[in-house]
Amino acid sequence: MCTTCGCGGHDATLEGGRTFRRADALAVAIGAVRSHAHAHAGGAPGHGHGEGHGHDHAPEAGAASRVLQVERDLLAKNDAIAASNRRVLRERGVFALNLVSSPGSGKTTLLVRTIEAWAGRSPLAVVEGDQQTSFDADRIRATGAPAVQVNTGKGCHLDAAMVRGAIARLGVAQRSLLFIENVGNLVCPAAFDLGEAHKVVILSVTEGEDKPLKYPDMFRAADLMLLNKIDLAPYVSFDRARAIDMARRVRPGLEVIELSATTGAGMERWLGWLEAGWRRCATAVPAASPGAPAA
């Protein structure tokens, strides 16, 4: 179990679908901790694998301990899958965004309003990440947009393999918009590239204005900050200028859009940003011929 955030070894599941291997391996590792199925004779707790115990250590006669240079990034595997996701999305002209925030920032409401306002511009799909339930995917599907829910179990973030599975399930259309709503968590999702074009961080005025400095990794990883719920600003002591200043301390030049998903204030600017990004991706690939397969 992660001692920082409590996330652990349960399997991630794709709604109605399969379980993910990474989490399987994790569960196996944790299972091994519990049962300690290792086959040493005389396995006293804490034995140190020193010389003289019974298993076959030396591939070469007389080989003592030797050092192997490895030089591999801990995230190499995730990053390779993310790069593959990014290539697949780029080839289809899909503009993909990874939406990250704390729980309760208004991500899903913002998505619902965005989907309604985007109607008619291009196909759009949503990957929803949560520990449990398909509530969010249900809310998205109620708008008519295709959505797939990824339940991470005890996991605290989406990873690239989960998104690969979700994209395969959704079959994202050519020249479409893809929203990936990450698990509500301002820490863990920062490290995991999913293959998105941009991370978009959402901060709401009902939270602390100092969050960008408390959780700098996430704000540093983002290319856009949406400051949400500005309709509530008169009722809370949230200093918007200070919040933006703190975000730009960790991510110099960070673009910020202030909006309210509830009243619609600022939504035009957000839609304009989306349109510009989507157009860049979509015009980079030829239009699909009628009846061409999405994949």
Binding site: L68, L74, L75, R249, P252
Partner: protein
């Protein structure tokens, strides 16, 4: 931060490298963890013990080399030390900083038998 997932990735890397070299046992793992990376080293140590049990690296010792943070400061036009993201340039106080070192998490080397 999800140290358990990172520890699991670390174990996959370590076991693959050991098997490739024909080794049957890993006695030490050395990581390089940047001060500005996405990991809490105490949590990673805890997870290391958990994930390595029953693996080729069971009982292996873990060394973590800390890599200090460094950023390029635009006003200074040079590299400066950076203890944590969100800190100002220690020379000029600017926040116009781009991290150039200390945000990696790597398996540096392993000792095998």
């Amino acid at each position: 931060m999800h140290e358990m997932a990172l520890a699991q990735s670390m174990l996959e890397i370590v076991e693959a490298a050991a098997r490739e070299a024909g080794a049957t046992h890993v006695t030490n793992v050395r990581l390089e963890i940047g001060a500005l990376s996405h990991v809490a080293t105490d949590a990673l140590r805890f997870c290391f013990d958990a994930v390595t049990r029953g693996s080729l690296a069971e009982g292996a010792t873990l060394d973590i080399d800390d890599v200090p943070g460094e950023a390029w400061c635009m006003p200074c036009g040079g590299n400066v030390p950076l203890a944590q993201v969100g800190d100002p340039c220690p020379r000029c106080g600017s926040f116009q900083l781009a991290v150039v070192r200390g945000d990696d998490m790597r398996v540096k080397d392993i000792a095998v038998a």
